[in-house]
Symmetry: C2
Subunit: 347 residues, 2 copies
DNA sequence: TGTTAGCACTCACAAGTCCGGAGTGCCAGT
DNA sequence: ACTGGCACTCCGGACTTGTGAGTGCTAACA
């Protein structure tokens, strides 16, 4: 009993040491040594004891030293443990919360919400921020419009219930009959409006049957275009902001920030950073090598999903050096995700 | 006569020296000295002579030395002279031209053209690229659509002849009558379609008169929204790409690339960088302090306007350190502007 | 058994020193 | 007007040295 308790105590202190190391390192950006540690955190023991604990932590892979006779630095594994067990989420201050809601409330359309959100997130975390547009694949059709621009050119405008507007140009080989187009438009509207994207392919399966032979060509091309839009997950755009914050961390990245900047220019990469976040947890943190992108081994990603009641869902988050303020960033990402979800529901 | 000619020769050589300095400095990124100069460029004179010329150039403010007993570096003024009088535009290689046209030809809508263009420009110049969306203010209305989403919410979709689609949500205080809305839509369409944006305010002046009292409220809000869209020059979006190239120039910027990255995040700044380019000249170059943005004293901007036959016009360009390859960048910007103009006309 | 104090050792980093070389300006000679 | 020569400047890299923070280990202590 006593032994077990003592082991528990010991474990506790080791974790406290790890926490202290992470906190100090995040604050100072310098390897932290045993002496400095006991000075700044009132652990009631001597440096020598801390050294033992540090040696143990190093054996277990939670910390490492850049070179012999230097202080210790947390490893990815160390950060992981810190995030999972040690870091409390520090709630935002009430002025911060107020700022968030005021800032987002005054936005007018979806684009605006996205832009504002990314700015906001970048500003409060002082990191690079990512916000994904609400995914089309889980939303449904609110309205569809076909407009003739000339005799051979149409434009299709699709409005989703998440407030997103998609447009497609359609080029026809033969002149379009206005009346026929109106007819198609009306029936299409009836057929798909209110329907979720996932059901569109099925609905369109039988759609062209109701039209006479001579309209088939036109119907087909419209149908194809619509299917295109619905299928196009790729189009899930991600907006990016706060890249300037990367420059502050010049030294944080082994080589330079170039590979990171390059990675951030690829929509596909951004989607991968955001996309694979776990489905249920409120906030996902991916640390250093855990994240699947080449050239971003020294960065961590904090993401959360934001839901628009049932209809659509997407992610947002921040990207920064592994030595980031996890507690603060997690709180910020979580809070912003909540607010954005709410705003989009209201609209 | 003989004297005049000799003065001319002298001037010529000085200019040649300046050109050589600029070229060498751009290539090596190191201050260039008299000896290196005569070795690499076969000017038929001795280093000492060159030194005299350099002293003169320095007096006139075209070059400077970072410290005593170092080589010379071009000043902003030096680059200016170089660009104005010395730098030939070096034409793109034919594979490059082919790549441009292939790359842009396969784009499907306006957004796509913009994104592809910015990527392309960033890639061939290896600089940060900017592309402005075709300005609304010089385009005209191709179609306008009003769609009821619910009894109190409308969406207005406006399509311009430059292929751009603008949307606005409209929130009504009282329920909307479907028939009334259809009526407004029809008349509005007749009134404004084909009209240039600049004439819209005038047209709308008399518009609401034709409707009965009970519809005024609805008409007014629609009118206001439309005027909003038309007036909103601010909305002139600029897409940005190739920021990773900035990192390559780490040392080029006195402090860090942070202020530059920050500036590039502001749409307003981007517009200023692009917007004030001269109207007639093919390509505008703004060097260092010449450009109006705080924190970008060490960067140059090369821009060109690209026209969509009469209807709309906008700018594109690249941003890089003052010590950039002006000849190459000017050529690239010019070529891309031409192609983009052509593509957008076709569409 | 866990904690502490002391000690010898390591090693990055800053400061100091030195030296070569590239570059300059000036002057006298052609 | 151009050139060769010369004295001078001064940056930058290489090398050296000293210091201090940090470590691991061992022996003593509760």
């Amino acid at each position: 009993m006593a032994a077990a308790k003592e082991v528990g105590m010991l474990e506790d202190r080791r974790l406290a040491v790890l926490r202290a190391i992470v906190e100090d390192y995040v604050a100072t950006h310098e390897p932290v040594g045993s002496k400095a540690l006991v000075e700044r955190h009132h652990l009631g023991v001597s440096p020598a004891t801390i050294r033992n604990d540090m040696a143990a932590l190093e054996d277990e892979g939670y910390i490492a030293q850049p070179h012999t006779s230097a202080g210790r630095v947390p490893t990815d594994l160390g950060y992981r443990l810190f995030v999972d067990r040690l870091s409390g989420v520090k709630p935002l201050s009430s002025p911060e919360r107020r700022a968030i809601s005021e800032f987002l409330d005054s936005s007018v359309d979806l684009d605006d919400v996205m832009v504002r959100t990314v700015r906001l997130l970048a500003q409060i975390t002082r990191q690079v921020a990512l916000v994904q547009y609400p995914s089309l694949s889980r939303s449904s059709v609110r309205h569809i419009e076909l407009i003739a621009l000339s005799t051979t050119r149409l434009i299709m405008v699709l409005i989703t219930d998440s407030g997103r507007v998609e447009q497609r140009n359609i080029e026809c080989t033969s002149p379009v009959n206005e009346v026929a187009l109106g007819d198609i438009r009306a029936r299409l509207l009836v057929a798909v409006s209110g329907k979720p994207f996932s059901s569109i392919p099925e609905i369109l399966g039988a759609f062209s049957g109701q039209f006479p032979e001579e309209m088939q060509q036109l119907v087909t091309i419209i149908q194809t275009t619509l299917l295109d839009v619905v299928a196009e997950r790729i189009d899930d755009r991600v907006v990016l902001g706060g890249t300037a914050h990367l420059a502050r961390y010049g030294e944080a990245f082994p080589l330079s920030i170039q590979p990171v900047l390059e990675a951030l220019e690829e929509q596909v990469v951004l989607l991968r950073l955001l996309g694979e976040s776990s489905t249920n947890a409120a906030v996902t943190v991916r640390i250093g090598h855990e994240n699947p992108v080449e050239g971003m081994e020294a960065t961590s990603v904090v993401t959360a999903r934001y839901g628009i009641a049932q209809s659509a869902t997407a992610s947002l988050g921040v990207v920064g050096p592994t030595r980031m303020d996890y507690a603060g960033n997690i709180a910020a990402v979580q809070a912003v995700a909540q607010y954005v979800g709410r705003i989009l529901d209201d609209q």
